[in-house]
Symmetry: C2
């Protein structure tokens, strides 16, 4: 792509009621929306009006039954994407699924099927799962250790790629008299690895994108390895330009070290936006939607989250980056926890400033529609990021607000599409087709 | 249901090009139809015109690469049903899936999801898989023995049923101030059985049918046990009235022995139909579509299939039922092989007659549209069967022919619906809702 045609890529996440756990109190709609397919259709139509690249569905195959929370994943993401693709044109879909709790044959088949029926609009977000509540739904074995989960995920994608290309009707020669097909267009893959033994071929042919675009999240070392080997769209948390540039270099250098052309990688980190008439209003919304109620509430949450000593905590003292590096052995996703320490390594910030820079570990952008648009363009314009995976606090409200107020500004600035042109998500992202 | 309102239930199978392996030579369309979603949409619209209860997709998760055959399953059935349900109203869908090569949590979640997005139109056909080519796509272990596969399938459905009812928003009480939901509407299932350990709850709530309707195929002893425990719609092969009545009694008696109300069972065996201007034309079509070319060809296939001695074979001698009882230890589905021996146990038939009574182990009905309609009504009118799963030799041609020529006769006779009334497949079959 030449720089003159380079366009900002934007995915939009929805979860059930939006991304911020407490923001549902301020959203439009019924709480029964979360398992109403028509609600997701309306969200997707709204996203289509916003000309987004794709609707992103994160996932855990488990119901969170904390009475104070809300179920934030219910309908199976691939089923949901499949029905939505039949109802809403153009827009792509990111479906999250676990490489720990699926078999490669079934997953490769289902995703290739959805890619075919959607006309090349599927992005598969492979996660290795980190939640013991998920493990308990799939047998008596505990969650495998992180290193094993990543190794397994990598082999899983090796197998999936072999399967996705194992039957290609375009390879057919002349069809012999009396035969339906040239069966040499399909071949076994005979994969026998450390974790998987799969004969193949897949019984679904190569699809319109060659195979679904592969998204990959996670910024731990294992996650970066996986992204470098297989990721085409990298979902991550980038809180500043220097941290983002360092991350991008790391992933691309490692891809090159693995013998992969790094030009086939797009970085679209999460971004939480809160739009106000002015910055003050956005700050107040942040306090409400985060459930903390005030700036002091945000600071108290910060103290608690990072296990700081409240008696010595000074919200206006410069924070020490070292103090915020997460334990690499912790159960939760490690990579996401790196955002703050990476930010503090490059910028001198107080806690009062830091609490306004991220939400749920992702970059937070607060302000007027112009300020939000500027902040989005900022890290995109020099290639630090290729775009963003937007994380609206409330669905549908903040999606609508972004579509109506921010999208026109991005279009006016000439950085964002004014209509869908390319047919597949792969083309829309300018990603190469698999061989 | 009173007898005055009792209606014939009809599902329509499609496979890729229809049911008979050689009939594709005489079908309309391109061989690329088989992985074209638009083709399946057209078939489903045609089926909708025919007011069928459901479109039936059989399945093997493996590509048959015999150069003389044709791939008869490709796109994942549940994905296909999900996209078709978004495009075609009213009609139900039977999606086949394996209890041997899926996890109960994922399968329960996906199917409940499709049932919700389709508005209660999903029937899940659980099979235990019998093909070593399938096993090789899921690891290095050989196919488990049949007894284990059936025991596992039965526990699989126990788990699925627990999961399907583990979260029911209708159980919600008053929602406390500041809370999104009443999380006591969901409960863990804590299943720890011989094959599965699953905590739950499912993160998809109870759907419009309570849970998807459960179809079950197979007439071996293990298959009948499974049908009696879990089957709501029984797909089987019934070649004659006495055999059908014996089968129905067996399944219903066993259900009662398991403490289940047998009134929640519907028997809809496979039926291959071949329509001609007259019987002679239908016979010739049978010879063509079966790939045998002539009556002698059909007889030669019969000799080969049952490993008879060609030197002593007399096509006009009465066949001995005992000779045709399949080996219960054979690899292939046992139940389907019982059709012929059951038929011969009740009717004195020569090979020349027997070859016209079944095709692919299923009841074959040959003749004019009136003759086909009469044959369908015959076993339905006294309750031997509740309807049929039609197996057209060619798709789309024979589906169209049935819809245009046979459906109006069935309607004229007052045995078949003239429009869709009930919303869910469960209601359309008059099946009880799970508690």
């Amino acid at each position: 792509m030449t720089s003159s045609t380079r366009k900002l890529n934007l995915n939009i996440g929805t979860n059930t009621t939006g991304y911020l756990p407490n923001a549902w109190k301020y959203r439009t709609g019924s709480r029964h929306d979360i398992y109403d397919p028509d609600y997701y259709r309306r969200l997707t139509e709204l996203a289509h009006r916003g000309l987004f690249d794709a609707v992103f569905f994160s996932d855990h195959p488990a119901l969170m039954t904390d009475p104070n929370g809300r179920p934030f994943h219910t309908i199976d993401p691939l089923i949901l994407c499949t029905t939505l693709a039949a109802q809403v044109p153009d827009i792509g879909f990111v479906a999250t699924m676990s490489s720990t709790y699926n078999s490669p044959y079934n997953l490769a088949r289902r995703t290739q099927s959805t890619d075919i029926v959607s006309g090349g609009r599927l992005i598969v977000n492979i996660v290795s799962s980190f939640n013991p509540g998920v493990a308990a739904n799939f047998g008596s074995a505990p969650l495998p250790p992180r290193s094993e989960r990543y190794a397994k995920a990598s082999e899983f994608l090796d197998v999936a790629k072999k399967l996705w290309s194992s039957w290609d009707p375009a390879r057919e020669g002349d069809i012999q008299e009396g035969r339906f097909w040239d069966s040499t267009s399909a071949h076994t893959i005979d994969h026998a690895g450390e974790y998987f033994t799969v004969k193949g071929p897949l019984n679904v042919p190569r699809g319109p994108q060659g195979h679904p675009v592969i998204a990959q999240a996670g910024a731990s070392e294992g996650g970066i390895d996986l992204a470098a080997r297989h990721g085409e769209i990298i979902y991550c948390n980038i809180l500043s330009r220097p941290a983002g540039q360092a991350f991008g270099r790391k992933v691309r250098d490692r891809a090159a070290a693995f013998g992969r052309d790094p030009s086939g990688i797009r970085i679209v980190p999460g971004l939480v936006f809160i739009i106000g008439e002015n910055r003050e209003e956005a700050l107040r919304k942040h306090e409400l939607y985060s459930g903390t109620g005030s700036e002091d509430g945000l600071l108290a949450r910060f103290v608690k989250e990072y296990d700081l000593d409240p008696s010595t905590f000074d919200p206006d003292a410069i924070l020490d980056a070292e103090r915020f590096i997460p334990d690499p052995n912790r159960l939760q996703a490690v990579g996401m926890g790196l955002g703050l320490s990476d930010l503090l390594a490059h910028e001198r910030l107080t806690a009062r400033q830091a609490i306004r820079r991220s939400e749920g570990h992702h970059r937070l952008v607060l302000g007027t529609p112009e300020e939000v648009a500027d902040a989005i363009i900022d890290l995109w314009s020099d290639g630090t990021v290729d775009g963003y995976t937007l994380q609206p606090p409330r669905a549908p409200d903040d999606i609508r607000e972004f579509v109506e107020k921010v999208v026109p500004i991005l279009q006016d600035r000439g950085v964002y599409r004014t209509r869908y042109e390319e047919k597949t998500v792969r083309d829309r992202y300018g990603l190469p087709y698999p061989a």
